[in-house]
């Protein structure tokens, strides 16, 4: 039996996600700037892409470790019955 975990009740998740959301928009960079180019992309595009990647990683971890609502054993028993 695993302990019940619900993402909404874990405030740390939401602090991390909100911070990432805030930094996924380039308000903190100088308006109109685009140089230097790195592999054809303006420097700030890499920053935004990086933040987006981090969000995906964080989400994958949350989905894997912070969400246990239904008892899997119970579920399996039910499936076997069916």
């Amino acid at each position: 039996m695993t302990q019940k975990k619900e993402p909404i009740k874990n405030w740390k998740i939401w602090v991390i996600l909100i911070v990432l959301l805030i930094f996924s928009v380039p308000w903190y960079l100088p308006t109109g700037s685009y140089e230097p180019f790195i592999l054809g992309l303006p420097y700030w595009a890499w920053i935004i892409l990086g933040v987006s990647l981090i969000i995906s990683i964080v989400l994958t971890l949350i989905l894997k470790h912070c969400w246990y609502m239904t008892d899997e054993e119970e579920m399996q028993e039910e499936e076997e019955k069916q």
């Binding site: 993402p7 308006t31 592999l39 992309l41 892409l49 990647l53 989400l59 989905l63």
Partner: protein
């Protein structure tokens, strides 16, 4: 656009091929699941038994439509690097799911929910609230379906340079979609979604490779853009940033709360498969909207100086040029063309099925004929669905100019049911009257602002409506107070 490479037989061949493949999947599903027309759960949720792979593709196909290719590349072309937001907002949809899916999934298995209104009815026990929510969903879904139908026509006629007329494309594919939807319900929708999703992924990848080879890569495109329109490369100004934030929030909440998205939560086989599908979804934006974004940026160099209207044809023009290079790319572009059309249909079919379920269960069985059998409910849903599609077809005959505006319009209404989920699932004090007034006020504010074209501070009208909606829900609930006995009952049922 008279010298298109696949104006002619190959365009028609691939269209027929995809059409018949979808019908074939529909027939197989029907053959293997004879009993599915007897039960709402079987028909609308595939028996609540979708495994990781199929569930993932049906989430994918529901969220990513042909518009993600045909409409988003021109948007990147016009807006430049600001459109990188399309990668982030698709990732954030998974955050939207995290806000309510875990609890809603558990409840859906406990109480056998079929439609989002089943939850709303169980939670608020109010006819008025359930009806308002059902009507909002119905209207939003109709708009959404209309947009997809128009997109089918634009997609096919644009990509074949008008060889296949808009109307012929629309009628053919809508008929195919209705037939396989009738035959297999959620199962055939999910199975065709899998086929359609793979076709889209393949097509987009090849289009990206083709544009890099034949139009020069990203570095030359951005260097070129720096000389003719540097504003497309720079960090956006404050207006741009606000609209960027507003779009992120709107899609994050709006797309996850789509009725057809919610139904996919109910259709999951287990919590494990739901979690796994969602975590795959968190990575898809990089290879879908990300690739399409790059294609749009390359387009700045490939076809400079297009007007807004002309730029809507960008993907067709690029695919056409690439197809003329050699036989491999010719057939790859033909497949892409099929993939785009398939992606539109796969979004449209999910919407149509949810639309039918709302009519069957939430309108017909709840208010008109309470003793109707599941079989009869399904039949009513199917028939009304067809009638609605015919009405929408008539509207689609004379389509509005650009796709982007109507995309915003459906969000505005569907998003207003969000408090019922985001607050209702966790806060027992949310009063049904407060929710009703909140949803109604939010809808009116969002619609009026949308129709008059107002976006104060650059924030989308749907979000203004939603903000008022949330404030009314919280404010009035504190004032109205839910009786203690009811809170205790909810504690048992909803926790």
């Amino acid at each position: 656009m008279s010298d298109l490479a696949f104006s002619g037989t190959s365009g028609i061949i691939i269209m027929l091929f995809y059409g018949f493949l979808m019908l074939f999947i529909g027939f197989i599903t029907y053959w293997r699941n004879r009993g599915l027309h007897q039960s709402n759960k079987e028909f609308y949720l595939g028996g609540g038994n979708l495994s990781v792979f199929v569930l993932f593709f049906t989430f994918f196909a529901t969220q990513y439509s042909g518009n993600t290719v045909v409409g988003y590349a021109p948007t990147a072309y016009r807006m430049g690097f600001m459109w990188m937001q399309s990668i982030t907002f698709f990732i954030l949809i998974v955050v939207g799911y995290l806000m309510f899916a875990p609890r809603l999934y558990a409840l859906s298995k406990k109480h056998q929910f079929i439609t989002p209104s089943d939850y709303i009815d169980k939670r608020f026990k109010s006819k008025a609230v359930t009806l308002l929510a059902s009507l909002l969903m119905l209207y939003g879904l109709c708009n959404y379906l209309l947009e997809q139908i128009i997109a089918i026509g634009h997609g096919v006629s644009g990509l074949t340079g008008g060889t296949i007329p808009y109307q012929a494309a629309v009628v053919f594919f809508v008929t195919v979609m209705i037939i396989y939807g009738w035959l297999g319900g959620m199962r055939s929708v999910a199975y065709t979604d899998t086929m359609q999703g793979i076709a889209l992924l393949f097509g987009v990848a090849v289009l990206l490779i083709g544009s890099m080879i034949y139009f020069g890569g990203l570095p030359s495109a951005t260097e070129y853009a720096a000389t003719i329109s540097p504003e497309k490369l720079g960090v956006p100004d404050s207006n741009g940033l606000v609209s960027w934030f507003s779009m992120l929030i709107l899609v994050m909440i709006g797309a996850a709360i789509y009725p057809h998205a919610i139904q996919r939560i109910f259709a999951a086989k287990s919590e494990k498969s739901l979690k796994k599908s969602l975590s795959w979804m968190a990575w898809m934006p990089f290879v879908t909207s990300g690739f399409v974004f790059i294609i749009g940026i390359i387009g700045i160099q490939a076809f400079p100086g297009l007007s807004e209207g002309d730029s809507e044809q960008l993907v067709g023009m690029m695919a056409n040029h690439i197809a003329m290079q050699n036989p491999f790319f010719y057939w790859a572009m033909v497949l892409l063309f099929g993939g785009i059309v398939a992606a539109i249909i796969s979004t449209a079919d999910s919407v149509l099925l949810t639309l039918s379920s709302v009519i069957s269960k939430d309108i017909y069985a709840r208010y008109i004929n309470k003793s109707a059998s599941d079989k009869k409910q399904i039949l009513v849903g199917k028939l009304t669905g067809v009638v609605l599609v015919i009405i929408l077809l008539l509207i689609a005959w004379y389509p509005p100019a650009t796709l982007y505006r109507i995309f915003i319009l459906k969000f505005e209404l569907l998003i207003q049911i969000a408090p019922a989920f985001l607050l209702g699932l966790y806060w027992k004090q949310l009063h049904r009257h407060a929710l009703f007034i909140g949803m109604l006020a939010g809808t009116i504010i969002a619609s009026v602002m949308a129709f008059t074209g107002q976006q104060p501070l650059g924030i989308a009208s749907g979000l203004w409506g939603l903000a008022v909606n949330f404030m009314l829900c919280v404010g009035l609930s504190i004032f109205l107070k839910v009786p203690k006995s009811e809170v205790e009952l909810l504690q048992k049922e909803i926790s």
